[in-house]
Symmetry: C2
Subunit: 164 residues, 2 copies
DNA sequence: GCTAATCCTGACAAGTTTGTCAGGTTCGGA
DNA sequence: TCCGAACCTGACAAACTTGTCAGGATTAGC
């Protein structure tokens, strides 16, 4: 399970915008050059990444001199899962079933898990977790496992929930 | 975030071994050819994957005629995270910090999250989740999100748990 | 101790991802 | 109105991943 370079850098760029969001005037934007400099990336590469993010509506551009990029929504409302999906790392359900079927035309898991490849199980799961985590979590602390209750994972019957 | 082909196929091979585990005599093993056939993969490729798994002690080989592969431990004791790490998709902590630093020599996150790239936060998190899920979960049902209680992820204070 | 079945392993071609380049388009301000 | 700062975008070389190939090493059974 790998984070692609685009995901890493895309998230970093988004985090730069999130940090700056409070400092900007209404209508203000952050320049690609500044982001590139702070992250140690080339301007061309940051442009490419921001273009991808822009196409899907997470960030928007302001053209012309004094232009740049900014988030379209408050950073608290953007989830890690959303950003990762946009950056191409997380394939959608439809794409999944056409991959990883080996040499045969149809999925070969005759019994047990039916047609679902392992892929789907794991990706589904990761999706549902990261869709619930806002990017601001990464600004503060990384993702703290202590806030995820893992009781019952991998068992058939949910373990009793200790009175919270 | 991508599952690599090796992870997908490696997990499938392990699951084949796990399914067969009960049917085998003590000392018995499953042949590469059978696994390859059931998964629709080439024998050569399955050999390569099993060799990787063998090197790290998750499976072991029996050479000669009637040889093959088998798990070294009961399948309930093998976690998805362990298998994924072995198959090369999940880099260890040490490897992580030497990657993804952009064009500069040192990590450029001056403030906020210190030296940790986004990479580390997310990978740490995924590790700690998958290390708790045995591979047998994939045999039964995929990973059922309903058994993972996500309340509070990404918030500072855990949300109340609704009565089960 | 042969033989054949089976695992073992390094080298390599094809495909994908990564990051750069070069040239375009838009638009605020002198 | 024109200039230059800044975003926009397709094409491409380098690096990595994937899956195959060919030949080698081990050992059960005769």
């Amino acid at each position: 399970m790998k984070i692609t370079a685009q995901e890493e850098y895309g998230l970093r760029c988004i985090l730069q915008l999130a940090r700056e969001q409070g400092n900007l005037d209404a209508g203000g934007a952050m320049q690609v050059r500044d982001i590139a400099e702070r992250e140690g990336l080339s301007v061309a590469y940051v442009e490419k990444i921001l273009w991808t993010l822009g196409r899907s509506g997470i960030v928007e551009s302001v053209r012309g001199p004094k232009g740049g990029y900014r988030l379209t929504r408050p950073s608290e409302e953007i989830s890690i899962g959303e950003v990762m999906r946009v950056l191409g790392g997380m394939p959608s359900q439809e794409e999944i079933c056409s991959q990883f079927t080996g040499n045969q035309e149809t999925c070969v898991h005759h019994d047990g898990c039916g047609l679902r490849p392992v892929w789907v199980s794991i990706t589904d799961f990761v999706h549902s977790v990261f869709d619930k985590i806002p990017i601001t979590t990464l600004l503060r602390q990384g993702i703290d496992i202590q806030y995820v209750r893992l009781d019952g994972v991998g068992r058939h019957r949910p373990a009793p929930v200790p009175g919270d």
